[in-house]
Point group: C2
Chain length 448, copies 2
Amino acid sequence: MLKPDKLSLNIPDTTKPRVVIIGGGFGGINLARKISEKHFQVVMLDRQNYHGFWPLLYQVATAGLEPDSIAEPLRKMFGSDDYADFHFRLVKVTGINPLNKTVETIVGELPFDFLVVATGTKINYFGNEQIKKYGFPLKQIPQALNLRSQLLQCFEQASMTVDPETQQSLLNFVIVGGGPTGVETAGALAEMKKHILPTDYPGVDFSKMNIFLIEGMDRVLPPMSQEASEKTLKYLQEMDIIVRLNTLVEGYDGETVILKGGEQIKTNTLIWAAGVSGAVIEGLPEECVERGRYLVNEFNQVKGYDSIFAIGDVAMMKSPEYPKGHPGVAQPAIQQGKLLAKNLKRIVEKQPLEPFKYFDKGSLAIIGRNRAVADLPNNMHLGGFFAWVIWLFVHIMYLIGFRNKLVVLSNWIYKFFTYENSTRLIIRPFVRRGDRVSQNFINKYGGD
Amino acid sequence: MLKPDKLSLNIPDTTKPRVVIIGGGFGGINLARKISEKHFQVVMLDRQNYHGFWPLLYQVATAGLEPDSIAEPLRKMFGSDDYADFHFRLVKVTGINPLNKTVETIVGELPFDFLVVATGTKINYFGNEQIKKYGFPLKQIPQALNLRSQLLQCFEQASMTVDPETQQSLLNFVIVGGGPTGVETAGALAEMKKHILPTDYPGVDFSKMNIFLIEGMDRVLPPMSQEASEKTLKYLQEMDIIVRLNTLVEGYDGETVILKGGEQIKTNTLIWAAGVSGAVIEGLPEECVERGRYLVNEFNQVKGYDSIFAIGDVAMMKSPEYPKGHPGVAQPAIQQGKLLAKNLKRIVEKQPLEPFKYFDKGSLAIIGRNRAVADLPNNMHLGGFFAWVIWLFVHIMYLIGFRNKLVVLSNWIYKFFTYENSTRLIIRPFVRRGDRVSQNFINKYGGD
């Protein structure tokens, strides 16, 4: 058995200033790619050994893509000789010590000259322990695989019951959160319901399958334009998705969802896509943090520090244009990562830093085949087929790695012409904490 | 929470004779494809919702392929109208009642007119509880994903330790069993060691990585020809794999492998590929079973029964040519499944049955790039590049499903030209029973 004292971060000593990057997300990798290894030693710490293209995670959950299509191993990304002084460690960071300028991990401390926190967000259950226990989150690959198995197991069970109430709760799917993840998951489920499930489960009457989308605010896709929200709502309703706006979820005991106002929905599957908060780390004083994100200046320096930076979702850079900080999407993280690479060089070269200016390339969401919405620069709003084509194009272009693009593209072409989801495998080898249905199912009814 | 009494097999009544097939492996699917639904209702029961192409499972474990490349959902395979009276249930079979002619499952009984047991094999630990607890089996997709994560986590940890002993046991990989699975896994690991790991883990000295292949008999690939065994041994040694023949494993406590004769190997990873036994089901009298397989006649009828059949690995059909039954490979299962489909029709049409005659198409094993062995009909034995090309061709041809072929082929072409494994993702979301290292690792050092 390995004892912690047998492990250490084991980073080679260096005469160059050391930049420690916590997190291999959009911010972290774009910083690490552009940073000058002539000037710096770069250390990246992450709890996962891959960079995930999270905008497509819902397709892993809805059996459209396999994990390797949306994830790229970090060591593969930074394995070439261009990154000779790049060091990755798969490790959990436990704290920051700003006085000693060290990062604390479970296998020991690491001194830094510059620290960049690029940890992104973590799921926010708003303190609801019940939902944390019984809800299905959708933020990491194992969670997506677990949700996929759950969905398929519900259909399998629905084909094995004649009890109407049991079947109905197996066929009710409640998605909490009307943001991109919630909307896109609901849309993908609706497509499965229409094109795949009736063939796969001839014994089940899928007119009974209900997809609920619960949103607390007065419109879906709140971060997008009013036009986009309205189009999206129309698309969702065309696809028979039951949308509840201005509705909060009060509780879920694994069987019944209780909505504020008293409505109850029986379901075995509550998908929690309702909120995230910045993944801040112990150690920096409270005044650096506002609503779960680090307050940073226009150079991404954390309030009160000149060598500690935060980029992407975990950073809150207030500006007249974005009084509450930038939207929690990939672009600000990417752009801040790239700029910080330049600014770090400027710091060691004693040059003035360049302030961050967010270039909004627009945002996209897909609801189904030929149904997508796009907010483009200059207040251009698109919907329908054109937005859908743009969505496909943009997502393939942004996917990391030649091979993934190829596989994803071939999957999508295949799906488009055959209406087939490719990867309907129940491979859940484990039981989700508190997931009694699945435990029951796996123990008693097989599965792996 | 679902109670068993809420679930039932829920198979529609029928006037046609009902054929119940237990298992969706090579035997089961080839029977189900050819069986005449004009004459029969077909019910397939399996604990997995997919058919797996197990000869390539080791590539999932060694990060070469994703699960969907080697597995096809059974409901997708039998979803077309050609299979209008085919019914799949994801359920665990608990017993056979030959007197009442019923199959017993956890969700109730199912009467059959004809029963076909096509359950294949299960792992045989030869009663060694220690190895069952600490060894990594390689028989199912979740096990392959778990092993993949373990391998990668060992390399990550090896980069994080300066303690020589700790690092050595992280870099020792002991594969028990010199059959196809063991040989092919060892070969794939050796290729990773040579082409990928040094780039991914520049901090680790991979000359210290040892791959042990332990075989109890006097040659590797015992089922194949002497020529093939000798070539394979040569290839393995060329690839720096440490082969121990005539060697039995006595114990493994999660840290140290003890070989018969006293040699000890420190390792965090023991891969158990040493044996399988037929997955027989409770309920048939003992005299039907010999060495874990059902004794069947030349029509695959289980000894003493005319409407209960066994095909593939779980069947033992003795013949002058094969006094111990047929080899445990795909071909006998495929050929027996196809023939049984015909014979069932003959039974209801009161025609004489056709006896099974095994057509040996030969066998193949791959050790590495340009290194494979082939035993072909007419005592032809090939090795090297030609055998390797045959291996690629045969495996792509046999892979189920258009899409899989495409993806697998593109993966292999990509790998061939880039030496890259594609899917080096640690996605293990769970902890293997008794796997203290990984538990430690996941809890303390991150991961999902």
